[in-house]
Amino acid sequence: MTHREGRALRLIVLFTVLAGFVLPIVAGLWETARAAFGILPAIGAGEWSLAPWRQLFGLPGFGTSVALTLWVGFGSTIISLLLASGLCALIHGRKWARARAGRVLAPFLAAPHAALAIGLAFLLSPSGWIARLLSPWATGWNLPPDIATVNDPMGFSLIIGLLIKEVPFLFLMMMTALTQIPAENHLRAGRALGYARGLVWIKIILPQIYPLIRLPVFVVLSFALSVVDMAIILGPSNPPTLAVAMTRWFYSADIGLLLPASAAALLQSVIVLLAIGVWLLAEGIATRIGRLWVRRGGRGMVSGPFLAVAGAVTGALMLAGALALASLLVWSFAWRWSFPGFLPESWSMQAWLRPGAGWGAAFAESFGIGLCATLISILIAIAWLEGEDRAGMRRVGWAEGLIYLPLLVPQVAFLYGLSVAMLGVGLGNGRATVIWGHVLFVFPYVMVALSDPWRALDRRMVGQAATLGAGPWRRLWAVKLPILLAPILVAAAIGFAVSVAQYLPTLFLGAGRIATLTTEAVTLSSGSDRRVVGVYAVLQAALPFASYLAAWWVPRMIYRDRAGLNGGRG
């Protein structure tokens, strides 16, 4: 009976995910593909043709854009993977360091890409905070030098921006994966055989956890290859990366560019697919080389310096991220702040005192959309996990792929097509559409965050409830959910942070009418008033932080007197 009920629940969830997530992505890709091959009735294009592709390949800077995309995508992914592994190796087994690293890195996971990028753009620019700190006493600059730091043609500043977001993500993913293997025993055995601590980690533990973080790595790779908001703010501009160039073509005065833009969107998906393929090939090669290296049996006393470098670079990156966010706060209270002053000459509350000028409404919009998208995602995630429990089945590979699908397909590739498709079936572009668009990207993160704590739940509790006569629903309500309150709230906080940061889905599915903190911050970042941008970016970063704090604080308050329900931390 339980099994049948489990099957019904699973079917409902499966249907929801297929109809709500997979179908729209496929429909969006289909519309994009049609336009890429010349079919877009709105502009009178109705004939299958390869002309959009010829036009795309002929656009100025196309080759450079693709090369930049690959360089930034692979570069940032490989470096983040190296840094995250190095950091894990460096601090694994040192309990206090692990806890501290988690606490230090989590805020960067929460900080929205756009806010971080806006802050970094100021921090790193030739007239930015670092230059102001050193000028004129150390540099002799009374005027900023003409050096390309931000928006540099090689995309270094964009890579730095991506690293600050991706290293913490991969690090925390690795930490989660570590709980699934007997890492401590291996570490002890390795140490006993005379291997350096870091090297045991790289030679024995990394190969075991890598398969567990492969999907997150692909998410990072796909994201880095197709990021738009961060690349607009930090990336090269002439030509930009393919994703930015495509967004520009979609919005060009020349409507004829919609066709090559669609072709570029399709190409973007192909690039991501091929990149994942290349990565898998490289994995195979690395495995062979790695095996030889492991067999040679070096005890690796020289691995220390590499790990130290990884630690130092990560530390510098996080410091830059923290300064970037701090500079936004300073700007939001500034009035006049010119080069080379380290702090503003005059201060003002002006930007904060006028919520009616826009940030009030944008704040409410971000908050409301985030709340709805998170609630819906949490509900579906709990239904999914409970369905697995009742059916007594482990998740199969394709289901895992299904969860990750929205994160693996580049947003730019299907969102324009999706907004056309939505209008086609008579669903207007409004707040509800945007919320649903956010769920598409919030749900996967919520699932990833909640799955492991859910599986780690002490089954004996549930078993006892069953012997006491509690049915499946009662076991869910009275036993599982209360015990899992803390991880559910953490998953919700992550989901909320993801929703607040969404740029393209809000822009495309909201027909530009839904103005959130993120869309406003990106729009204003191409304006002249850093003080106002500061307000938006500070609020944009504050929302996720507040939700993380709430996720930490609420269970402690509710379960003040129950150490067992407090994750054992109380």
Binding site: P144, S237, A253, D254, G356, A511, R513, S528
Partner: protein, 395 residues
């Protein structure tokens, strides 16, 4: 030619029927929210639109919801997407702040509602004579599909604390930039302002500027732009970051002037610098001026998409923008600082006094410093210049 016809129509229509139609429009507009798609990069403009919304709500029960665009073409794309989906009414865009190429493209594809300018009572304050700047957008007759709302004129802004004698022509700008490498740049040419800078140079450098008033052909384009590219080839290596990268738009350029990264900014609004000083965004030593030979000027318009959900509301907004009181408010540098589009000869004494009483600022150029107003070239020139520039200088 429908233009003289429209002008005649607007002038001769009997007032009573006109008023009756208009009162119906006003009645239908009551309670509507007009989604005005307007470039959102300028806080003053955003504030002005919010102010207008408050006034309209009190007077007509119409509110404006500004959809802040980073590029006007976003709104065009949206209407195209809606047309693609067969959404021929109830569209999401009610009104667009539009100009030039975007207007031409929407007009040619039948994406605009109208003609409606003649229906607006306040259009009587405009100069509706044949060929008037209020009826021509980048040489394209607007034929009543657009209503003017603000005047734009190209100016250069510099910091007088760092630059003594600003260059007054494109040739002397090249000399100045050679002497001060890395201290001048212009917005990306894919941006409206960057393209306008090149057009300004083109008008000065073209052997026969008159050819720019008609649609560009292969022959006329290469003949007219040859001196421009020669000049630009010399200028580019002296630009900020050797002309390899450019600020996204004029707001970013203005911020760079404030940061001291460059010594010049440019704007399509003579009061932009004065207003920025007032808001603490530029040092009070900045000054604006137009090149000696005059500068490009045009009028910014609002248009209504064919499928707009709130056409009546949009017309009430367009009419409100033409009200002399609104235009005087807009010209106030403490508010928007955008010059009036109305014909001074058609204003009554009270309206004239309101304009005369507006505050002044040292960063605001006197009328003499603004010089002659040069006509915008046909939109095809802007499109071609942007394409040719991208072809030549994108690596």
């Amino acid at each position: 030619m429908r233009l003289p016809l429209l002008a005649a129509l607007a002038a001769s229509i009997a007032l009573p029927t006109f008023a009756a139609d208009w009162s119906e429009t006003v009645a239908a507009a009551k309670g509507q929210t007009v989604y005005w798609n307007a470039w959102g990069g300028d806080e003053r403009t955003n504030d002005f639109i919010a102010w207008a919304s408050g006034r309209l709500e009190a007077e007509y029960g119409v509110t404006i919801q500004q959809v802040k665009l980073s590029d006007t073409a976003e709104a065009v794309t949206r209407v195209v997407a809606e047309k693609a989906a067969g959404k021929d009414d109830g569209g999401s865009v009610d009104m667009i702040w539009i100009n030039g190429a975007n207007f031409l493209s929407m007009k040619e594809q039948g994406l605009l509602h109208g003609p409606f300018l003649g229906d607006l009572p306040n259009s009587k304050y405009l100069d509706l004579s044949d060929g008037s700047a209020a009826l021509v957008d980048f040489t394209i007759p607007t034929e009543g599909y657009e209503s003017p709302w603000r005047l734009a004129k190209f100016v250069l802004t510099y910091d007088s604390a760092r630059v003594d004698q600003p260059p007054m022509s494109m040739a002397s700008l090249l000399d100045w930039s050679k002497a001060h490498p890395g201290r001048f740049t212009h917005p990306a040419v894919s941006n409206f302002m960057g393209a306008t800078f090149l057009k300004q140079a083109l008008i000065e450098l073209a052997p026969d500027p008159a050819t720019l008033q008609s649609e560009a052909t292969e022959a006329s384009f290469s003949a007219a732009t040859e001196p421009l590219w020669a000049w630009y080839d010399a200028l580019r290596p002296t630009l900020w970051r050797e002309g390899k990268t450019f600020p996204e738009n004029e707001s970013v350029l203005q911020q760079m002037l404030n940061d001291g990264e460059v010594d010049f900014a440019m704007a399509f609004d003579p009061a932009a610098a004065a207003a920025a000083v007032k808001r603490g965004l530029l040092p009070d030593t900045v000054r604006s001026y137009a090149p000696a030979a005059g500068s490009i000027g045009n009028i910014s318009f609002v248009a209504i998409p064919y499928n707009a959900a709130h056409k009546e509301g949009a017309m009430v907004v367009a009419n409100f923008l033409l009200d002399p009181a609104t235009q005087a408010m807009a010209q106030n540098i403490e508010v928007l600082g955008s010059y009036s589009v109305l014909d001074p000869a058609k204003l009554d004494d009270a309206a004239k006094a309101a304009f005369a009483a507006l505050p002044a600022s040292p960063a605001l150029p006197a009328n003499e410093a603004l010089g002659a107003t040069l006509n915008e070239p046909h939109p095809s020139w802007m499109t071609r210049i942007a394409e040719e520039w991208a072809r030549r200088y994108t690596e």
